[in-house]
């Protein structure tokens, strides 16, 4: 993991908030497609998709972040990310409300994640990008899901 957080970020929208995701973690962006739900999977796992013959698990970040679910729109996209685990690299789709753009973020624009107390886990936030008056939350996708969760997803896949 680089010490520097500056670089290109793919920004997307989730419940009216702008989030950033390091472009290097992104494998592919696809439009919404049919999701096959898999039984006995965690709540935040939507199911799996068939991406050019490859089965990829899909999670819903709204569910993960305990946000109210909305129906999918024609702007809803699935971002296919590569999660770096201890053993391997896992491809996973995350459903977002809309993909916005690719944005270069400089070092000085990034502020550390605020501390809300010991009970609130903010490790999955890389920092807050303060750009042109708007704050974008930069996510550390590797830490958004716990190891156990990833393991569960791997089982589903």
């Amino acid at each position: 993991m680089d010490t520097t957080k500056a670089g290109k970020y793919l920004t997307f929208k989730l419940a009216d908030e702008d989030y950033g995701l390091s472009l290097l973690k992104v494998r592919e962006i696809i439009g919404m497609m049919p999701i096959t739900s898999v039984p006995r999977t965690p709540d935040f796992v939507k199911g799996v998709i068939n991406l050019r013959g490859k089965v990829i698990p899909v999670t819903d970040l709204r569910r993960r972040f305990d946000m109210p679910e909305i129906g999918y729109t024609d702007r809803t996209c699935i971002i296919v990310v590569e999660i770096q685990t201890a053993e391997s690299t896992l491809q996973m789709g995350i459903v977002v409300d809309a993909v916005t753009e690719v944005l270069p973020v400089r070092e000085e624009e990034i502020e550390p994640a605020p501390e809300f107390g010991a009970s609130v886990d903010t490790r999955y936030i890389l920092g807050m990008a303060n750009m042109e008056g708007a704050v974008k939350i930069l996510l550390d996708i590797d830490r958004v899901l716990t190891t156990e969760e990833i393991a569960e997803i791997e089982k589903a896949a």
């Binding site: 472009l23 592919e28 962006i29 696809i30 439009g31 024609d74 702007r75 993909v99 690719v102």
Partner: protein, 539 residues
């Protein structure tokens, strides 16, 4: 006396004159009686006593002449002419004396005379025989015979002659006594007549004076009252006539004004009639225009329906366009995704992918612009679609409006037709009114003429009333005498009204003054004619 007061004037006069005639008859009768008594006495004096006395005196004179002739024969030669003359005288006087006494005898009336007459006749026969002897003795024409005759004549014959004449004197005295008695009768009759005449004339005078007073009083008093009423009523008639004249004149003027007003009305009505006809024509034109309007509205309604169809088509076309735009948007979205994926690939390629990243960015920009353009187009189409929808609803409303207009237009057409009919009727009605007004005009003209006539009649009446006043004055003169009413006599017809009016006004106007309202400056006295009913009722 009441019946007398209530009796007719004629009866009063007849009664008075009858009383006076009776009185005159009584006076005449008493006069006649006295005069006839006197006449009888005069008759006795002049027709009986005086001829009797005359005959007696003449017979006495004849006898005296006879004596003269007898004595004269004594001195005349027997057989001479003078003797013969005396003898003739003697015979003539003898006859005359006898004739005249016979005439007296026929007139003799009283028993005393009739007793004396035979005595006289006896004495005369005695004397006659003696005188005949005297005459015979003289005729012998002897001295002896002459002596004998002379002795006889102066002796015995003379005594007999005087005895005979004494009877004549006695008879004359009786006749004179008769005449005197008749004269005294006549005087007594004269005195009686004088007394009775005086008494009767006195009574007659008293009765006459009383009757004159009573009749004149009973005639003049009502006459005076009548005159008073006549005066008052003639004044009232005069004032009423003047009032009538004034009101007639004002009526005439009013009628003339009315006539002028009616002429104006007539011309106004003619204008109204023409206007009503014009209204009718206009209403007909409006009716046809409304029918045209109805057609236009129907045409417009059909056009609006077509417009609605066109707008529906436009709406459909917009929907199609919207689909196309959506497709473009989709494509732009996909292109954006592709560009983003290209950017991801370029980032993965590191330095080698830098140029590709720029291309990807450009593509992404294009995709965003395309999306924006699509969004703008979509917005525009959306707006157009909304506008078309609102236009469609507007068209629908307009359509219903046009239908309402069409209905209203047909209703208006009906109403206008009704208005046209009503205007026609109105025109006819106005024509009728005009005819009526023409009739009214004639009537008013007649009224004006009548009022003029009545004004002139009332003027005539005023003159008549003035004449009546003059007549009343004359009547007053008749009743009161001209000296008592000099003013009335001289004033005549031109009597000042003010005096009369004030006199009448004080008596009559007061109780009604309040009720009768005088229209202008007329004095209340001019209203008095109303009060005369009571005054006239007395008649």
């Amino acid at each position: 006396m009441k019946w007398f007061r209530d009796a007719k004037v004629g009866i009063k006069l007849v009664l008075g004159f009858a009383v006076m005639i009776v009185m005159m008859g009584l006076i005449g009768f008493s006069g006649y009686r006295g005069v006839s008594k006197i006449q009888k006495s005069l008759d006795a004096i002049f027709a009986v006593a005086m001829p009797s006395i005359d005959y007696l005196i003449e017979a006495d004179r004849d006898l005296q002449q006879l004596l003269v002739a007898e004595r004269s024969m004594m001195f005349a030669e027997a057989g001479s002419d003078a003797f013969k003359q005396f003898a003739d005288d003697y015979e003539t006087n003898m006859k005359q004396a006898e004739t005249r006494f016979d005439k007296y005898k026929a007139l003799a009336t009283s028993a005393k005379e009739k007793a004396l007459i035979p005595e006289y006749e006896k004495a005369r026969a005695e004397w006659k025989a003696l005188t005949r002897r005297v005459v015979e003795a003289r005729k012998t024409d002897t001295l002896q015979g002459r002596q004998e005759a002379l002795n006889l004549s102066l002796g015995e014959a003379a005594v007999k002659f005087e005895a005979m004449r004494d009877y004549i004197d006695q008879l004359t005295g009786i006749k004179l006594d008769h005449a005197d008695a008749e004269r005294q009768n006549s005087a007594a009759a004269y005195r009686g007549t004088l007394i009775s005449q005086s008494v009767l004339v006195g009574i007659g005078l008293l009765v006459g004076i009383f009757l004159t007073w009573a009749i004149s009083r009973s005639v003049t008093q009502p006459l005076r009252r009548v005159i008073e009423h006549l005066k008052a009523s003639s004044n009232q008639v005069a004032s009423a006539s003047e009032q009538l004249s004034a009101s007639s004149q004002s009526l005439a003027e009013g009628s003339t004004e009315q006539a002028a007003g009616i002429e104006e009305t007539s011309s106004s009505l003619e204008e109204m009639a023409s206007m009503a006809k014009q209204n009718s024509d206009n209403a007909g034109q409006a009716d046809s225009l409304m029918k045209e309007t109805n057609g236009v509205v129907k045409q417009s309604s059909a056009d609006m329906a077509e417009l609605t169809g066109s707008m529906d088509e436009i709406s459909k076309a917009s929907e199609e366009t919207q689909k196309i735009v959506k497709t473009i948007d989709e494509i732009a979205f996909q292109t954006n995704l592709l560009a983003l994926n290209a950017a991801v690939e370029a980032a993965r390629a590191g330095e080698a992918g830098a140029g590709f990243a720029v291309v990807a960015d450009e593509v992404r920009n294009l995709a965003i612009r395309a999306a924006e353009a699509a969004r703008n187009t979509s917005d525009l189409i959306e707006g157009t679609s909304q506008k078309i929808q609102s236009g469609a609803s507007l068209v629908g409303r307009t359509n219903t409006g046009f239908q309402a207009i069409s209905e209203s237009a047909s209703k208006v057409g009906d109403l206008v037709a009704e208005i046209a009919a009503a205007s026609n009727e109105q025109a006819q009605g106005v024509d009728q009114i005009n005819n009526a007004v023409v009739e009214m005009d004639k009537v008013v003209q007649n009224n004006a003429a009548s009022a003029e006539e009545s004004a002139s009649s009332s003027q005539e009446m005023i003159v008549q009333a003035e004449q009546m006043k003059g007549m009343v004055a004359e009547l007053v003169g008749l009743v009161e005498g001209r000296r008592n009413t000099p003013a009335a006599a001289t004033r005549g017809a031109s009597q000042t009204r003010s005096g009369f009016v004030s006199k009448a006004g004080t008596g009559a106007a007061s109780p009604r003054k309040a009720t009768v309202s005088s229209p202008s400056s007329r004095t209340p006295e001019q209203m008095i004619p109303l009060d005369d009913a009571e005054a006239f009722s007395e008649f």
